[in-house]
Symmetry: C2
Subunit: 119 residues, 2 copies
C-alpha cells in the first residue's frame, strides 16, 4: 500500500469572525454560540430572547467576562445587581455567584469570555 | 504599640464597567486601558488614533482576542490580513504573529482579551 503523498489538509482555525453572523437565538432557552475556543479560554456569544435567563451559578476556577453587544441585561454578581446596555462589561471572578436575565423588550446579545474553560 | 482593631478595608473589585468611560486615547502612541485583570486573563480596551498601530509580535503561551468596538482596524495574523469594523472579532492563537493598525479616518477602539496574561 502506497503512502499518501498529497499535502496534509488541516481544518483551518477561523481567525476572523463576524459576531452578527454567529448570533443565533432559540425560542426554547438562551443560546450559546461558540466563537473561539482553546485550552486556555473560550469566547462565545450568548443570545437571550426577552424573558430568557441564565440562572445563578459559579465556576470554581474560571474567571468570566460578559460584554453587552445588543439589548439590556439584568446582571447579578455576588448579590450586586445592575441593568446594563451596550458597551457595559461585567466581571465574574472565579467562585462568584452570577446570573443574567433579559427583561426585554429587545433581544439581548452578550460577548462572553471565560478563562480557563471549565473542566 | 497597640494592634489596629478597625475593620480591614480591601480595595473593591470593579465588577461593572462602562467601556466608554475607560476609553482614553494618547496622541503619542496607541493606548492600553485596563478593564479587568486576574492571574488567569486580562481585559483591556486599546485605543488607536488614525495612523497609530501595534507592531507585529507574538505571545508564546497566551491566546488573544480583539473585538472591534469603534472604527476600523487593519489586522494581520500569521500573514492573513483583513480590514474590519465594529462587531468583528480576531483570534490570535498563542505563537501567532499579529499586528493591528488604524488606517483612519476614525478613531479605533478594541476590546482585548488575553489568557493567560503574559508573564
Amino acid at each position: 500500500m502506497q503512502a499518501a503523498s498529497g499535502p496534509l489538509i488541516l481544518h483551518p482555525v477561523q481567525v476572523f469572525r463576524e459576531i452578527a453572523e454567529a448570533l443565533q437565538f432559540d425560542g426554547e432557552k438562551m443560546k450559546k454560540n461558540g466563537i473561539f475556543a482553546t485550552e486556555r479560554f473560550f469566547c462565545d456569544v450568548y443570545a437571550f430572547e426577552p424573558g430568557q435567563s441564565q440562572s445563578g451559578h459559579r465556576h470554581a476556577g474560571s474567571d468570566k467576562v460578559y460584554y453587552v453587544i445588543q439589548g439590556k441585561g439584568e446582571f447579578r454578581v455576588d448579590g450586586a445587581e445592575r441593568t446594563l446596555g451596550p458597551g457595559s462589561a461585567v466581571f465574574c471572578q472565579a467562585g462568584s455567584e452570577h446570573a443574567v436575565a433579559n427583561p426585554g423588550p429587545e433581544r439581548l446579545a452578550l460577548l462572553v469570555f471565560m478563562a480557563p474553560p471549565p473542566r
